[in-house]
């Protein structure tokens, strides 16, 4: 009963946050977009309120959760008329969908659901080492330690990475605390939720921005990535991070899509800033993405600036939304967590940067993992998509192209950041690459699929798998 109530409160909180930025849904796709964002944002807010409650010592979570909901509701009622923007369908009109494609999508969805749920039930304690050595261990410390919760960030257990952000552990501890006990049902369910809301977000984002066919194909690409479905059940923070990275891009593309059609609203920018901040609160790699997306957007807005659309007016809503989350992360890193191990020895770091063989090793692994990180059978999807990208003609406009370029630049910058981290890693470079590179690629995979279909636009899929040709805009 408590878990159901907490779940409702969590989604309601996320729903209210999203409602501050997006007006009530006008179609099934916008409803799916809203639901997907609400679940992810709700869990993120739950984790932050738990952390603040633990820190302040005021652990009356029902009161806090109720108060957060009430504040958001008041804010929504007073601000919505001014700030929330409706989500119109920006896709090309009058498109039918091939029945074959629908059947194929249905098969991929059922296979992923069956596989994911079975795997999650079979491994209630998660898979791989990081679930128990990092994420669930931190959650246990937060939940079990009471007022001594800082014990979990002891430098005596550096292998548990006490400097890792707390979105996942604090969200787990929040649910356990309101339930009054630990249960594996919570991490199992949260893992599955993040996996399938990422699919829902990808589908709805593409359906709103491009076409139903692109949405079906895009969601199918993700559902048919066995390692994504598998990792979603491992109880790691990688899939939640991929969700928040995708959410940032979808919201930015929605904003730019509105702007191209003359609808100027900054609330999707603020929501995108929140999503990027939540990414940084999920994993350290999220901080890298946050910096990359801010840089890329600054580049984009400086190219598109006009008296009406000054760069600062485009970046400020994102920065304002990110600021409190960034302050929380900075507080956690400075006041609670011991320093991480990556930048602990600048001299060795510089020496490693000068070692060309390390560059070769990382490049080789990047090339190798590109075709196998998803654990696909026979045909690696990134290769198919790369080939398709060069074979197909895109019908998107110049400004849409610029948005895609900025988002792609953010992903490439993030990948470059990962590359740099491998160069300076204090651990054995091959060990580090072997046990993490596939997960790092997966962080960006849902966003890469999204950008691929947005970059192609709706035209390549019209009359190809059963669609009529879209009418010219």
């Amino acid at each position: 009963m408590a878990i159901a109530l907490a779940g409702i409160l969590c989604v309601t909180t996320g729903f209210l946050v999203v409602a501050l930025g997006l007006a009530p849904p006008s179609s099934r796709s916008t409803l799916l977009l809203r639901i997907s964002l609400s679940a992810g944002f709700g869990l993120a807010v739950f984790s932050m309120t738990y952390f603040l409650a633990r820190w302040s010592g005021f652990l009356h979570l029902w009161t806090i959760d109720g108060a957060v909901c009430a504040i958001l509701l008041v804010a929504l009622l007073s601000l919505r008329k001014h700030h929330a923007s409706a989500v119109p369908d920006l896709k090309a009109p009058a498109q039918a969908t091939s029945k074959c494609l629908l059947v194929a999508f249905g098969f991929a969805l059922l296979a992923a659901l069956y596989s994911g749920v079975l795997r999650a039930l079979a491994r209630p304690y998660g898979s791989g080492w990081d679930s128990f050595a990092i994420w669930n261990l931190h959650a246990r410390f937060l939940f079990r330690s009471g007022i001594y919760w800082r014990d979990g960030f002891s430098p005596l257990i550096p292998w548990s990475h006490p400097d890792y952000p707390l979105l996942l552990p604090a969200a787990l501890a929040h649910f356990w605390t309101v339930m009054g006990r630990e249960t594996t049902a919570v991490p199992t369910t949260i893992g599955l939720i993040f996996t399938f809301i990422t699919v829902g977000l990808l589908f709805s984002g593409l359906d709103i921005l491009v076409s139903r066919t692109s949405a079906l194909l895009g969601a199918m690409c993700l559902l048919s990535t066995p390692f994504f479905i598998d990792l979603g059940t491992w109880q790691y923070a990688d899939v939640p991070l991929s969700f928040f990275i995708l959410a940032t891009l979808v919201l930015l593309h929605l904003h730019d899509g509105f702007a191209i059609r003359g609808i100027e609203s900054r609330s999707p920018l603020a929501l995108a800033g929140l999503a990027a901040g939540f990414a940084a609160w999920t994993k350290n790699e999220g901080v890298l993405f946050l910096l990359a997306i801010l840089l890329a957007r600054m580049w984009l807005t400086s190219r598109q600036s006009s008296p009406l659309r000054r760069p600062i007016s485009q970046i400020a809503p994102m920065l304002l939304a990110v600021a409190p989350i960034f302050a929380l992360i900075a507080f956690f890193k400075r006041a609670i967590a011991p320093p991480g191990d990556l930048f602990s020895d600048p001299a060795t770091m510089l020496h490693k940067l000068g070692d060309l063989s390390r560059y070769g090793a990382v490049l080789k692994w990047y090339g190798r993992e590109l075709v196998r990180f998803g654990d696909w059978w026979l045909i690696p999807l990134p290769i198919v998509m790369l080939v398709l990208y060069f074979l197909m003609r895109s019908n998107i406009g110049g400004r849409e192209k610029e948005t895609v370029r900025a988002s792609a630049a953010a992903l490439i910058l993030t990948l470059a950041g990962y590359f740099f981290i491998y160069l300076i890693t204090p651990r054995d470079i091959y060990w580090h690459l072997r046990f993490s590179l596939n997960r790092l690629f997966l962080h960006l995979w849902p966003s890469a699929i999204f950008l691929f279909f947005v970059a192609l636009g709706s035209k390549p899929f019209a009359n190809r798998v059963g669609d009529p040709e879209p009418s010219a805009p």
Partner: protein, 126 residues
């Protein structure tokens, strides 16, 4: 520009191949039970009852390469901090597969909880 239709169907077929294999490979295996058992922390249930609610305890395991067993011990015993060192007044002995041999002479057995879980005391660390 080549026709896109075959390319798109290649994408669909590529997806279906992986989905199909995912479906075929999804089954309950004995491996799952073997993974779940150590993570459940059942081996350490008795020891947890005997230890204080918080603090730092030492650790000694069967060999340096069994770091996974140490991580699992920390996971089971949280919120106690388990330091990978026997230089503490109280030390957890964790020998899941082999019986303890050649324990340091300063470690004395306080209690054997079975299944290779021991509670030891380090006389030098008091």
């Amino acid at each position: 520009m080549l026709s896109c239709k075959p390319c798109l169907w290649i994408l669909v077929v590529a997806c279906l191949l992986s989905s199909g294999r995912m479906l075929v490979n999804s089954r309950w295996t004995g491996e799952d039970a073997a993974e779940n058992q150590p993570r459940s922390g059942q081996r350490f249930a008795g020891l947890r009852e005997a230890l204080p609610q918080r603090g730092v305890i030492g650790y000694i395991g069967q060999s340096q390469d069994s770091v996974g067993h140490y991580y699992l011990a920390q996971y089971a015993l949280a919120p106690l901090v388990v330091d990978f060192s026997p230089n503490h007044p109280m030390v957890v002995g964790n020998f899941p597969t082999t019986p303890p041999q050649n324990l340091p002479t300063n470690l004395k057995l306080l209690r054997d909880f079975g299944n290779g879980v021991l509670l030891l005391t380090n006389e030098d660390a008091k």
